[in-house]
Symmetry: C3
């Protein structure tokens, strides 16, 4: 008999820097284990519109390249219409769309089913305050042994 | 006993402008309610390859910034190979990839589990004709009271 | 009685070119059929961090436009910090983020529920070696006839 799993957890992240990248793969695995998810998906989705969730290499040089590249394509500068509201973070709203705001992590036989270099990252573009990330497991628990 | 939910609805959107952004969060909630989804996901996915689904701020200044920015990164101009087919919308195919074509909206305890500023948007880059958006709820209905 | 489906398959792709786009929609349908998925999702996710999965038009001119455009926004050039590790593919890590690394294909009544022009593509930016793509179906099988 299959048992359905639907389990939700929230992570709070407050980065000391305005712009920062953090590897959160271990948090995803922790939530998968809490959920007892055997087969299915874990959705990882930032609840803020100035940060990203993305999968890429855990390599600090690449992280720098990503930040330099995002700044070139979506610069932090004056003149955005959004700033007429009093905000100064229009670049963060754009940067977050380049990397995306959520990923779906597949789970197979009770493990995150990721390639050897795939790591789940949180990208912050307007930090120094607490932000929430939602993790929702959906799928099936391990079938009970029939004895 | 858990009851599985798999429910699909389609939305038709025809924008008066070629380029337009529209908040469709209320449609997502309506479909969630029709589906009686208590815990799970609602996939929101455009069925056309010249439009986007994305999550960002409901703020008209930012919407302008997004359109200006997309035009800078993926301009509407002649010279694309795709135009040799007779089309004139290669920029729309590129713009839609920058913002993405689908999002997964988490549902927890019968509500869209979004952050305070998260809103689901439809981005049109080749409008003035009817386009379809698919919404598919997957998860569980509220457990029945046992009395 | 609903029967839950959770089914996983892997595809191996080795492109002769370093940069290449390939339509893999038929593979997605094959996996859907193997899974006997009637209603739900098929996640299609590359397991490598230098390639993409995206939905767009099956049109060779557009494929060229996409590659030209990616090269303009995330050029293959020296000077990336990531190259200090001995790698030469930082551009591939960036290009893959512009197009995204996964899509969720909706399935309704036993068919991929795609718009008329939607096709699922694999985008390779560091090819000439075997890469794996994960496909995971989640949802329900067709209800049994009650006789």
């Amino acid at each position: 008999m299959q048992e359905l799993v639907a389990y939700t957890a929230y992570l709070t992240i407050e980065t000391p820097q305005r712009y920062e990248i953090r590897d959160i793969t271990d948090d995803v695995e922790r939530v998968r284990a809490e959920a007892k998810l055997w087969d299915g998906y874990v959705l990882v989705s930032t609840m803020h519109i100035t940060s990203s969730i993305f999968v890429n290499d855990h390599e600090s040089g690449l992280w720098q390249d990503i930040m330099t590249w995002l700044e070139a394509l979506a610069p932090n500068k004056p003149g955005y219409q959004h700033h007429l509201t009093g905000e100064d973070n229009a670049d963060a709203h754009l940067k977050r769309m380049l990397l995306g705001h959520q990923v779906l992590v597949p789970v197979t036989e009770g493990k995150l089913d990721l390639g050897p270099w795939e790591r789940v990252h949180y990208g912050e573009f307007d930090g120094r305050r607490p932000k929430r990330v939602l993790l929702k497991a959906l799928g099936i628990a391990k079938a009970q042994a029939r004895g």
